[in-house]
Every structure is written in structure tokens, then in C-alpha cells.
């Protein structure tokens, strides 16, 4: 097994809850990410799934150092970059880039799209102006944009094309890893297919590794080699995509999978669903014991006291549950 290209160990990220307007004081702390380990190997796609508020986006921002982490460490190609800053962090930022959900919000409306794609090269002072321009044109062609549109503005493009601009920006630095936060969830089905195919092509052609944050489990199944399921700041199950999709062991993963609507009326109406009751509890006051126990359809009395840890089987499939489902 090859060395992981990106490794996170025991990552914890919290946000202060403050009171007062002038004299703000911290009255509590929300632990959005509460001790997460992950490993991304070269050329692989790791997906992180879970409901809103499970901490997946905070984790992604922490991994690219857009968000300070409170504890734990992040290693990139064997080097600890957790505490790096300034110039020392620049090298990492060139190698690990990000694609965002909303391509409109992530592009400057007053900047020509060629300039937007070029901006990362300018920031990192890469190449001569002529070389930069050539790199931008290459990146635009690679994502299926017409390089002649260099001088247009974002509003002249459709949603799918804007997402292509966002992807061109992410690949122009020739990174090793791209963290994709809900890359297709704002797009129509037919456009979604185009972007999913593009991400797969780029991975093959450029040897990229992806971390994909998504709530659409069908898109994840398609893109991901491995999947981590998060609930209230923790990983509750992890494994190869098919291990999780074919035989989820954690009741939460099972419920999440069974909740997806199935685009087949015959199967959709014949299958029995686990419909979870209630909402995700507030991360300010996570439940004692197993955090999922108040909503768990198979919880036992002991689940309210004991907090299960992630345990792994020999095949790498791991789950944090005292009464795992039989595969």
C-alpha cells in the first residue's frame, strides 16, 4: 500500500459561542470536528458524507488550512504542515487546492474569467506573463472552456460552465490534491453528469487525488474509492465504497443509504425504508454515550452510556458501533 499523500490525525476543530456585543466572551465551544483521522492515497478519491452540520465542510476547510485546527495534525507527503504559516505554507497551497459548491459565490463578478483562472499563478508568482497566459489557456481547454472566452465575465456563463471555471482555477497550479466541497450539488442533472465526467477525466489524466464532500450518495458512489461517514463531528463508519454501499455496519450509514430516493418507481415503492426520526442533535450538547443513540433504530440501553470507538476489520472496513448490523 502506497504512503498516503494527505493524512490527518486526531483533528479537532471548534468554534466559540460568544455572548455580549461589545465585550464578547466565550461561553461555550461547539466541537464541529471532534477527533477525525483520515488518509488519502495518491490517485484515490475519498468521499466524506453526512447530513448538514456533521462537520464535513469544516473538516475540508481544516484539511486545506483555510480553518485553524485546535488539535491533531495534518501531514502532506510525509511532512507535518499543521503549524506552518506564511511562506512555508505557500508550497502546500500550490499542491492542495479546492473546488466550491457555489461557483457564482467563488468567482469575482468584476474579474474577467481568464484573470480569475490566472489569479492563483499571480499569487504564487509562477512563470512569466506569457507563460501564465499559456497555462491559463491550457487549463481552460482541459476543462472544456473555449480559451477565446478569456475576456468574458462570470455572468455570461451558465452554472455548469461557471463550475468549469472554478475547476480550471483549481487545476492551473498543477496540484496533487483537490478538495471538492459539494462540486455538483448546485447543478442540474444533465450538467451534473458533465462535471462528474470531467472530474473523472482530470483525475486520470493529471493523476489527481480527490477529497469529495457531498451529500448526494449516488454521486459519491460513482466518484469515490473510499468513503467516510460522519455524524456530529466524528467518523462513524469508513471503508471502500462498495463495503459501505453493499454492507453498511453502522445503523446511521444504513439509514442514510436507505433514505435516498430511488429513480425507479417499482423498487422505490417495494423497498422497506429506515426513516430516522427527529433531527441531528445540537453539536453544542452532543448526547452522552453513542452520539447517534437517540435516533438509532436498534439502540440498546448501554448505548446511552458507552461511547463506541472506531474499530476496524481485517479488510479495512471500520465502524463505531456496539451493535453493528450484520453484513
Amino acid at each position: 500500500m502506497s504512503e498516503p499523500i494527505l493524512r490527518a490525525t486526531g483533528v479537532r476543530i471548534g468554534f466559540p459561542v460568544t455572548r455580549g456585543i461589545v465585550f464578547q466572551r466565550e461561553v461555550a465551544r461547539v466541537q464541529a470536528v471532534d477527533g477525525v483521522d483520515l488518509e488519502l492515497r495518491a490517485g484515490e478519491t475519498l468521499a466524506i458524507v453526512g447530513e448538514s452540520g456533521c462537520g464535513k465542510t469544516t473538516l475540508a476547510r481544516g484539511l486545506v488550512r483555510l480553518q485553524e485546527i485546535d488539535a491533531g495534525s495534518i501531514e502532506f507527503m510525509g511532512e507535518d504542515i499543521t503549524r506552518r504559516s506564511g511562506r512555508a505554507l505557500q508550497g502546500f497551497r500550490r499542491q492542495v487546492t479546492m473546488i466550491f459548491q457555489d461557483p457564482i459565490a467563488s468567482l469575482d463578478p468584476r474579474m474577467r474569467i481568464g484573470q480569475s483562472v490566472q489569479e492563483p499563478l499571480d499569487i504564487h508568482s509562477i512563470g512569466t506573463p506569457a507563460e501564465r497566459k499559456r497555462q491559463v489557456q491550457e487549463a481552460m481547454e482541459r476543462v472544456g472552456l473555449n480559451p477565446e472566452h478569456y475576456n468574458r465575465f462570470p455572468h455570461e456563463f451558465s452554472g455548469g460552465q461557471r463550475q468549469r471555471i472554478g475547476i480550471a482555477r483549481a487545476i492551473v497550479l498543477e496540484p496533487r490534491v483537490i478538495v471538492c466541497d459539494e462540486p455538483v450539488s448546485a447543478l442540474d442533472v444533465s450538467v451534473q453528469a458533465q462535471i462528474v465526467n470531467l472530474l473523472e477525466d482530470l483525475q486520470r489524466d493529471l493523476g489527481l487525488s480527490y477529497i469529495v464532500i457531498a451529500h448526494d450518495l449516488d454521486v459519491v458512489r460513482r466518484l469515490a474509492d473510499r468513503v467516510q461517514v460522519m455524524y456530529l463531528g466524528r467518523v462513524v463508519e469508513e471503508g471502500a465504497g462498495e463495503q459501505i454501499y453493499q454492507g453498511p455496519r453502522h445503523p446511521y450509514s444504513h439509514a442514510l443509504l436507505s433514505a435516498r430516493p430511488i429513480a425507479d418507481p417499482v423498487r422505490a415503492r417495494s423497498q422497506t425504508r429506515v426513516v430516522l426520526q427527529g433531527d441531528v442533535p445540537s453539536p453544542l450538547r452532543p448526547p452522552a454515550g453513542c452520539r447517534f443513540h437517540p435516533r438509532c433504530p436498534v439502540a440498546q440501553a448501554s448505548c446511552a452510556q458507552q461511547d463506541p470507538q472506531l474499530v476496524h476489520a481485517a479488510d479495512g472496513h471500520g465502524w463505531a458501533c456496539a451493535y453493528p448490523l450484520q453484513p
Binding site: E51, S52, S158, G159, G160, D188, V189, S190, V191, Q192, A193, Q194, V196, N197, E200, H215, D216, L217, D218, V219, R221, R222, A255, L256, S258, A259, R260, P261, I262, A263, D264, P265, V266, A268, R269, R273, V275, L276, Q277, G278, D279
Partner: protein, 337 residues
């Protein structure tokens, strides 16, 4: 019983660049107790269609054609008459509950107001109905929730409140525009479950506007597929998924990540939807269609015509054999692969 009948509806928006025909000759009908799904991508006119039915279009829009609720013609009705119908005979739920809930009013007050606008009941009676309404959509401790402000509830709970409000006066027609799109998959499952229960109980005609074919498969009896302002295919839900007849429907089904194997590339419909300012002559899908013939690009688009498949109709020149063969080949279900 036929409840909603739309005949040759055309909704046109005046814009600085010229008129935009968002809905261009749509005819459909829904029976009581039935769920009609309207599927299509952004800009296909599905929301303009639902706002036309509700009489909620902005002043820049004009409509022609006919919309009948039971026997009553809605096109040309005065604003006050429409207001009386809305919230009473017909109600609508939106993707974002905060567009229809007042953020500075307690939930209970909003529900009571909605009831007393349409029913002659005392305040105490209205209050009782409101609490019952919240309980009916599965809101725990409804008495307490009456005092809550909308922002104090989770997204799923707000969606339930909006559904409760829409159902308060027992509407005969309910229009749901992307009711679960903003929700997490587990909450979506709860809301779909709720809507399934409600349709058994309230016997209303439901029009469900969505881009999500999964939601259609779960909930609808019939489906109309919209493209560039027109209905291109209409069929009972099982037929649509088993024997889709229009090349656009094939493309939609084939591009779903859950339906194709992981080894093969997802099918992509080439090109982008046309601008409704200058729609293509002929069939509007022809520029993106792999099967288009010369006539498709030049002659007027075919009307929605019955196919050999029970209850299904399609607006396409291809012959039945080709449609059956290519439909299954391109968008085949997993079982057929």
C-alpha cells in the same frame, strides 16, 4: 374526478430584451387524489407554470389559455377573487419555507390568521385547528411550537409547518415546488413519507414540481417532462421509467449517476438548453438530439400525441419501434442491463 385542467397555457414575460415565452402551449389535467409530477431542469418553465396556476405571476407576465379549478376558470379572475381561492381551494408549498413564513411572527399566530382568513371560526376554535394541523404533520409537542418563531426551528420542521399551513383549509389543489430540495436526505425521506400519508388522507390533487427523478419515482402517479417551456412527454410513472419515449427523457434518465455502472462514463446530453428569447424553430430539443431529422429542425414541433404505451403521450417524430428500442437502450433500468 378531474380537478385541475390547463389548456394551451402560454405565459410570457416582458423583458428588456424582448418577450420570453416561459410556458408555451402547455395542456395538462390532474384528478383529485392524484399526484402529477412536473420534471425539468432550471429554466424549463416549470416554476412559471406553477405560479401561473396560483395566479402569483409578477405584473410583467401575461397569460393566455385556460386554467380551470373544477368548473371555475382562473385566467382573468380579479386579484381579490384569486386571493380568496389561494389558501382555501388551492395552496402552495415552496422550496424555502422562509419565503412563505413571516420571520417576526410566532408560528401559532400565522396559522390562526390563515385559518380565520378563510373560515368563520372563533379564535379558540382556530387555535385548536392550528394545533391539530401541526400534530398532523408530525411536529412533536405542537402546543409548545405554536409559540416558536420560524427561525427557532430546524429546516425539516419549518417545512412541516409550511405543509401544515398549506393544508389548514383543506385545499382541493396543492402545488409543491421542489418541497424537499433544500433538505438533507434523511429529512427528505421524512417529508416524502409525510406527503405519502397526506395524499391518502386529504384527497387533494397534488402537482409536484421537481428536478429530482428520484422524488418523482417515489411519489408521483403521472409525470410530465418539460423542456424549454413545453411538455415533451407525459406518462404514468411506471411507464415513464420503463419505456421513456422522448429523447430528452432518455438523456435525463441516462445521466443519473445511480442508474449506470461505475465503469462507464455518465451519459451527457450535448449542448445547453436554448434561450427562450430566441427558441429554435421546430422541435426545441432538436439541436441537442442525436436522432433529429431535417424535419425536426424546420417543421413545427409535433404536438403531444398518444403512443402505443398505455396512457403515455409524446411530442416527437420518431416512430414507435425506434422510440421503444432506443428508450430502453439508452436509459435502461439496472434490471435490464
Amino acid at each position: 374526478m378531474r380537478l385541475l385542467t390547463v389548456d394551451d397555457l402560454r405565459t410570457t414575460f416582458r423583458t428588456d430584451d424582448g418577450p420570453v415565452g416561459a410556458v408555451d402551449g402547455v395542456s395538462l389535467s390532474v384528478d383529485a387524489g392524484q399526484v402529477l409530477g412536473i420534471v425539468g431542469e432550471s429554466g424549463c418553465g416549470k416554476s412559471a407554470l406553477s405560479l401561473s396556476i396560483m395566479g402569483l405571476l409578477p405584473k410583467s407576465a401575461t397569460i393566455t389559455g385556460s386554467i380551470r379549478l373544477g368548473e371555475q376558470e382562473l385566467v382573468g379572475l380579479a386579484g381579490s377573487e384569486l386571493r380568496q381561492l389561494r389558501g382555501d381551494d388551492m395552496a402552495m408549498i415552496f422550496q424555502d419555507p422562509m419565503t412563505s413564513l413571516n420571520p417576526v411572527m410566532r408560528i401559532g399566530e400565522q396559522l390562526i390568521e390563515a385559518i380565520r382568513l378563510h373560515q368563520r371560526v372563533s379564535k379558540a376554535e382556530a387555535r385548536r385547528l392550528a394545533v391539530d394541523g401541526l400534530a398532523a404533520v408530525g411536529i412533536p409537542s405542537p402546543e409548545d411550537r405554536m409559540r416558536a418563531y420560524p427561525l427557532e426551528l430546524s429546516g425539516g420542521m419549518r417545512q412541516r409547518v409550511m405543509i401544515a399551513m398549506a393544508l389548514l383549509n383543506r385545499p382541493r389543489l396543492l402545488i409543491a415546488d421542489e418541497p424537499t430540495t433544500a433538505l438533507d436526505v434523511t429529512t427528505q425521506a421524512q417529508i416524502l413519507e409525510l406527503m405519502r400519508e397526506l395524499r391518502r388522507e386529504v384527497d387533494a390533487a397534488i402537482v409536484l414540481i421537481t428536478h429530482d427523478l428520484g422524488v418523482v419515482a417515489e411519489l408521483c402517479d403521472e409525470v410530465a417532462v418539460m423542456y424549454a417551456g413545453r411538455i415533451v412527454e407525459r406518462a404514468p410513472v411506471a411507464e415513464l421509467f420503463a419505456h421513456p419515449q422522448h429523447p430528452y427523457t432518455w438523456g435525463l434518465l441516462a445521466s443519473l449517476p445511480g442508474r449506470s455502472g461505475a465503469e462507464e462514463r455518465l451519459y451527457q446530453i450535448p449542448g445547453t438548453p436554448p434561450s427562450l428569447l430566441h427558441p429554435p424553430a421546430g422541435c426545441r430539443f432538436a439541436p441537442r438530439c442525436a436522432f433529429a431529422m431535417d424535419a425536426c429542425r424546420t417543421d413545427p414541433a409535433p404536438l403531444l400525441t398518444a403512443t402505443a404505451r398505455a396512457g403515455s403521450a409524446v411530442a416527437c417524430r420518431l416512430d414507435q419501434t425506434t422510440r421503444d428500442r432506443e428508450g430502453v437502450r439508452l436509459s435502461g433500468t439496472e434490471a435490464e442491463r
